[in-house]
């Protein structure tokens, strides 16, 4: 692909975008990148613990797919979830604070980087076990169909997840039961430090859809407009035919698998630099927009500046937020113990206390 060139700009789903909407999609991608860069900084400062997987390089994927969803389309993903969270409309503060382990975090500091949730926005996580979220995605689609709601579930997984049994079981159930789910493989080429060639037999991964009579498509994940066009088609199939689709979206991550991966063992720095030069998803959209006179230098600079400021503000917000109090350890475990006025069971649910 040549940066700034796309065959999908004129696709109906893209053609109906207003100038503002074009710029907002671009802004969202920039916001994700600046947010992630600020996360990296916070992680390096020791403010964020545990595992932290950044989305830098993959921004067009979450933004493109989620931007074409309708009111009844839901989203579930794995642990590299920051991009999806911002794309569904979660604010930086609640995401950053979650990573800081603060009570103002989206999961009150109980989930961390890998477990963001916002069911009000149709965002069902944020899941830490590779592939484990795919049956849940099929289940979300099942529930929509059960209730005769014309919606779908965008269910994301990494290329490293495709060899998990759960994924194959989810594919089978989705195809067998005609569930409105779009499985989106975010193929960033590496399952942690193991390249696709060293982890998965059979290429491309769309081939696996054939075994289940499932439609599949291959997508250039750095082209926002192609991602949107092909996702819209898959969602249409889900809405109108209640059939699943497998999208293999090719993308690339610029940083290590997680912040604890120094990224020195399995690929060359030149590979990353080369990709960035030729394929950067944000630069790509910027060039498309410049060419169509939808983005000028001043707007570009302003968007970038605002995104940096917003990310910085989220770090300050998180820093200033309190940690949860110790009684939070045993809250949000059982619905019933959180709603004592509705408690029906008797006996002991927790066998010690702080």
């Amino acid at each position: 692909m040549t940066l700034g060139k796309t065959a999908f700009f004129k696709d109906p789903i893209n053609q109906k975008l207003s100038a503002d909407e074009h710029r907002e999609l671009y802004r969202l991608m920039v916001r994700i990148r600046r947010f992630e860069e600020r996360c990296v900084q916070a992680y390096q400062q020791g403010k964020i613990g545990g595992f932290c997987h950044t989305y830098i390089g993959q921004e067009a994927l979450a933004v493109g797919t989620i931007s074409v969803r309708g009111a009844d389309d839901h989203v579930i993903t794995a642990y590299r979830d920051h991009g999806h969270a911002l794309a569904v409309g979660m604010d930086m503060n609640s995401c950053m604070a979650e990573m800081y382990g603060k009570v103002t975090g989206c999961s009150k500091g109980k989930g961390g980087s890998m477990h963001f949730f916002d069911p009000q926005r149709g965002f069902w996580g944020g899941h830490g076990i590779v592939g484990g979220q795919t049956p849940l995605g099929a289940g979300i689609a099942f529930a929509l169909k059960y209730r005769d709601i014309k919606g779908a579930c965008l269910c994301y997984l990494g290329d490293g997840a495709v060899n998990q049994g759960a994924v194959h079981e989810a594919y089978n159930l989705a195809a067998l039961w005609n569930l409105p789910v779009v499985f989106v493989i975010e193929n960033n080429r590496y399952s942690m430090g193991t390249s696709q060639a060293r982890s998965s037999a059979g290429y491309p991964l769309t081939k696996r859809a054939l075994a289940f009579d499932m439609d599949a498509d291959s997508v250039a994940g750095n082209d926002l407009y192609e991602v949107r066009a092909k996702t819209a088609k898959a969602l249409q199939r889900a809405h109108e035919l209640s059939r699943p689709t497998l999208l293999e979206i090719h993308t690339y991550r610029y940083r290590g698998h997680s912040m604890s991966d120094p990224d020195q063992t399995y690929r060359e720095k030149t590979e990353i630099e080369d990709y960035r030069q030729k394929n950067d998803p944000i630069e790509h959209v910027a060039q498309v927009l410049r060419e169509h006179k939808l983005l000028d230098a001043a707007q570009e600079a302003k968007i970038d500046e605002e995104a940096r400021a917003e990310a910085q503000a989220s770090a300050v917000f998180s820093e200033d937020s309190p940690f949860p109090t110790p009684d939070a350890i045993q809250q949000d475990v059982y619905w019933e113990s959180d709603h004592p006025q509705h408690k029906r069971s008797e006996g002991v649910l927790f066998f010690n206390q702080l």
């Binding site: 579930i76 975090g105 989206c106 999961s107 009150k108 500091g109 109980k110 989930g111 477990h115 949730f117 916002d118 069911p119 069902w124 996580g125 944020g126 899941h127 830490g128 076990i129 484990g132 979220q133 795919t134 049956p135 849940l136 995605g137 099929a138 289940g139 979300i140 689609a141 099942f142 529930a143 929509l144 059960y146 049994g165 759960a166 079981e169 989810a170 089978n172 159930l173 067998l176 809250q331 949000d332 475990v333 059982y334 619905w335 019933e336 959180d338 709603h339 029906r344 069971s345 008797e346 006996g347 002991v348 649910l349 927790f350 066998f351």
Partner: protein, 331 residues
């Protein structure tokens, strides 16, 4: 009250829950056309149709996870495992997704789901099919675990479980499916976490759950008849939540405790109850707490030996006699 089987009691509970709430559905292997591998779902397909009584492929991880996803969206699925032994291929879904979901989301999501099926040895099917994993699942905060021993308890606990907003694991028993008991036709609920004193006595308490309750009752009968010892039997019914108050009341009353389970001895339910009693009622004990469990090995296939491996009344009686009790009519 009608005299019906444990199997019919479960069937009645599901039927009544499904009549009351369109969000309740049943899925599992062979639950629909085949009427259930153990016929627990007999007739439900005819009553509720294939939208709500759903045959799944042999794909426990897939359909357990799918049902969890549906529960997150507000449906109330009942997932039948043909046996709980098969739940192990779905254990990531049960623990990481059903049990952890509420916590990980900071309380934004809850998972109203029931996992049910038989969990027992003693039926000559070998080690892979004979697991009693109530201790595995009760170990996990976020899950509730119940083990009904009678038809009456089976219906009341299942109805409570289906209406519960947290994930509940119901461990049934294929040997109990044909046992009969008095069961009211109309729906009723037994609160989870409420033990049931199934026989009164003053000398010793046998604490059990699931089918071991029946073993304990048989032992209590023999103790009364042959040894003049009045043993009472406390059926836990529910492992998590646990009726600690009922357990401690028994210790206070009889001062002697024998624990009976079909679970294995190490890190099992009895170990947990024993730890609880020594911590909270040590001064009320007049004798060490004794434990009768399955003999500690994988479940053996060979029939006569399998009978020996699981606790029977004889082993329970022997344990009680080791306490050195002297009954009123003993020589």
């Amino acid at each position: 009250m009608a005299l019906i089987t444990y199997r019919e009691a479960l069937n009645q509970a599901m039927r009544q829950a499904m009549e009351a709430d369109p969000n309740v559905l049943l899925m599992g292997e062979e639950v629909a056309q085949f009427h259930g591998a153990y016929k627990v779902s007999q007739g439900l397909l005819d009553a509720f149709g294939p939208k709500r009584i759903i045959d799944t492929p042999i794909s426990e991880c897939g359909f357990a996870g799918l049902a969890i996803g549906a529960a997150m969206m507000g449906l109330r699925p009942i997932v039948e495992f043909m046996t709980w032994s098969f739940s192990f291929v779905a254990i990531d879904q049960i623990i990481n997704n059903a049990a952890n979901m509420r916590y990980m989301s900071g309380g934004l999501i809850h998972v109203p789901i029931v996992f049910r099926g038989p969990a027992n040895g003693g039926v000559n099917v070998g080690a892979t099919h004979s697991h009693t994993p109530e201790n595995f699942y009760a170990h996990i905060p976020g899950l509730k675990v119940v083990c009904p021993a009678t038809a009456y308890d089976a219906k009341g606990l299942l109805l409570s479980a289906i209406e519960d907003n947290d994930p509940v694991c119901i461990m049934e028993n294929t040997i109990l499916y044909n046992t009969k008991g008095e069961v009211p036709e109309s729906p009723y609920r037994i609160p989870l976490g409420k033990a049931d004193l199934k026989r009164d006595g003053k000398d010793v308490t046998l604490i059990a759950h699931g089918r071991a309750t029946l073993t304990a009752l048989e032992a209590a009968q023999q103790l009364a008849e042959k040894h003049g010892i009045e043993a009472q039997v406390l059926d836990l019914r529910s492992i998590r939540p646990l009726d600690e108050a009922a357990i401690l009341a028994c210790v206070q009353k009889t001062n002697r405790i024998v624990l009976v389970e079909e679970n294995r001895p190490f890190c099992g339910i009895n170990s947990q109850i024993a730890a609880l009693i020594q911590e909270k009622a040590f001064d009320d004990l007049d004798a060490p707490i004794l434990s009768v469990s399955a003999i500690d090995a994988p479940q053996i296939y060979s029939m006569p030996l399998e009978k020996l491996q699981l606790p029977d009344a004889q082993r329970v009686v022997a344990a009680v006699l080791r306490l050195g009790l002297r009954g009123a009519s003993s020589p």
